[in-house]
């Protein structure tokens, strides 16, 4: 049998892979195992490949130790072939490259190199992570600081624009606030101020639209009620009623009641508020005493 004829590798890589895998797992026993070993002795290609893969495996993890019975089995097979028992006994029971091919301390060296590689990879990874953290953290902080600065600058511009003599710009500022909502208390107070003091009804109405969406913020309901008496403006009040009716919360009902009950509000407006309230409030069931 020539090397080429008997080479499983030459027949099929898959075949070789299966046998070699079985061998590595310690499951290549019996006649097939014996043939595999014989083949490795004859075929250098498969021997080298098997040795390389085994070396890699050993370097990564200690390989499974052959059982005593398995050792005896391999030894018996070797003896049956007429091999020198000493040589066979001294041989690693698992098929591998002959010792003469191995440099001394190969296994330890491989393990050392692998360990060094693993340590190197780990250290590199840690250093890279550390460097990335060092790189990213200041950048992220700086970016957030810049964002905050932009927000503050924009807020200052908006607040300044709310005091612009041109109504169009004040209106634009309130619309910006509406777009950028949620806003902080300073901006909220500025919008409330627009509602109460702006000479343009258009700006006041836009402020109302924004504030009706902020009824859950502390003080907004009270400020809307205060504005009802402070600026008796039918157009504004009617718009306020319509927007409050669309919201339909307890806060909006409170303001609606204030509009309905205020003596400074136009009678037509008060009627409109009462109508919206009656639509919003469910019919109150009669109490037993009233029924009787």
């Amino acid at each position: 049998m020539t090397s080429n004829d008997s080479c499983l590798h030459a027949r099929s890589c898959t075949y070789f892979d299966v046998l070699h895998r079985l061998e590595l797992d310690g499951d290549l026993v019996g006649e097939m195992g014996q043939r595999w070993l014989e083949h490795l002795d004859d075929c250098e290609d498969c021997r080298v490949r098997a040795q390389d893969e085994r070396g890699l495996l050993e370097a990564l993890a200690p390989g499974p130790q052959l059982s005593e019975s398995r050792h005896e089995e391999i030894l018996g097979a070797a003896l049956a072939r007429g091999a020198d028992p000493i040589e066979v006994r001294n041989r690693d029971p698992r098929p591998r490259r002959p010792r003469r091919w191995r440099p001394a301390g190969n296994r330890r060296m491989a393990a050392f190199l692998t360990a060094a590689c693993v340590v190197g990879v780990l250290l590199g990874s840690m250093m890279e992570r550390q460097l990335r953290r060092q790189d990213e953290t200041p950048a992220a902080v700086e970016l957030e600081a810049m964002r905050q600065e932009v927000r503050e600058t924009r807020q200052q511009l908006t607040l300044a624009q709310m005091r612009d003599p041109v109504a169009s710009r004040r209106l634009s500022a309130v619309l910006d606030v509406q777009r950028d909502s949620p806003v902080d208390d300073t901006v909220l107070a500025a919008v409330i101020s627009r509602l109460q003091y702006d000479p343009s009804v258009n700006v006041r109405l836009t402020a109302v639209t924004f504030l009706v969406g902020q009824l859950d913020r502390p003080g907004v309901v009270e400020q809307l009620i205060a504005s009802v008496d402070r600026a008796p403006d039918p157009l504004l009040h009617l718009a306020l009623i319509d927007r409050l009716a669309a919201v339909g919360t307890s806060g909006s009902d409170t303001v609606l009641r204030a509009l309905r009950d205020s003596s400074r509000v136009d009678p037509e407006v008060r009627e409109h508020a009462a109508r919206q309230l009656s639509l919003a409030e469910p019919a109150t069931p009669l109490s037993p005493s009233k029924r009787s």
Binding site: P165, S168, R169, S172, L175, V201, N202, A239, A246
Partner: protein
């Protein structure tokens, strides 16, 4: 140069035709003020007790106010003009209520006008930021450039723009009345509508769902801001072709 402006320069006064036909019993009086910086824009602030007001742009730097005194007028009620660094204040006392007032201003003038009682306000040919409020009367803007913030409690709004500013916001509110806007055909705007009923006639394609209550629509690039609040009236949006006066 426009003919009224030429006549005005020639004779130092506005042409009488500016006020339209005036009877011999209704003499015309006027006051005039010059801005501190003639080459800069002017801002005119006025509160009217209830007048029909007409404002027209002219090429002169001066601001001139003219009014027709009824034959029954015993005098005494004279509108006052004062100026401080191009801010012009026009004071019309309660005794001036009911008079027709005409104001000639430089083309680059921003108005801040309020009519506290009955009377319409008409403005023609100005560039600037216009803020006009009328209690009982229509507001009409013609051939304007810039931005406008208009409100009428009982009255309709009609505005024709040659150009709309992108940086400011425009707002049109009426409680009882219609709104008609003639806007540049190539307009890019974000249109915010608050409508009691959906009654719209638009030359523009309005992106977004049209509905009762608040809604937002985009026209073109959406740059300019236009807010419209109507309570039961009709909204007309006309695309104004350049150089053509829009039909009524």
């Amino acid at each position: 140069m426009r003919i009224p402006a030429l006549l005005s320069q020639l004779f130092g006064v506005l042409p009488l035709a500016f006020l339209g036909p005036a009877g011999p019993a209704d003499p015309v009086a006027s006051v005039r003020v010059a801005p501190s910086y003639p080459d800069q824009a002017v801002r005119l602030v006025a509160v009217f007790p209830g007048n029909i007001v007409r404002v027209v742009g002219h090429e002169q730097p001066a601001i001139e106010v003219r009014w027709r005194s009824p034959a029954t007028d015993r005098g005494g009620a004279v509108p006052r003009l004062s100026e401080d660094r191009n801010d012009v204040l026009l004071e019309v006392g309660a005794e001036g209520k009911g008079r027709d007032i005409e104001i000639a201003v430089p083309y680059h003038t921003s108005l801040s006008l309020k009519n506290q009682s009955a009377g319409s306000i008409t403005v023609t040919g100005l560039t600037g930021n216009q803020e006009i409020e009328s209690r009982f009367g229509d507001i009409l803007l013609e051939e304007m450039s810039g931005s406008a913030v208009l409100a009428a409690y009982h009255g309709s709004l009609k505005a024709t723009f040659l150009e709309l500013d992108d940086d400011g916001a425009n707002s049109f509110i009426t409680y009882r009345g219609d709104i008609a806007l003639h806007l540049p055909a190539d307009l890019g705007a974000t249109l915010s509508l608050t409508l009691d009923s959906v009654s719209i006639d638009s030359d523009f394609i309005l992106e977004g769902v049209m509905k009762r209550g608040p809604s937002t629509h985009r026209i073109g690039d959406g740059k300019a801001r236009i807010d419209v609040t109507l309570n039961g009236g009709h909204l007309t949006l006309r695309a104004r072709a350049e150089g053509r006066t829009p039909p009524d």
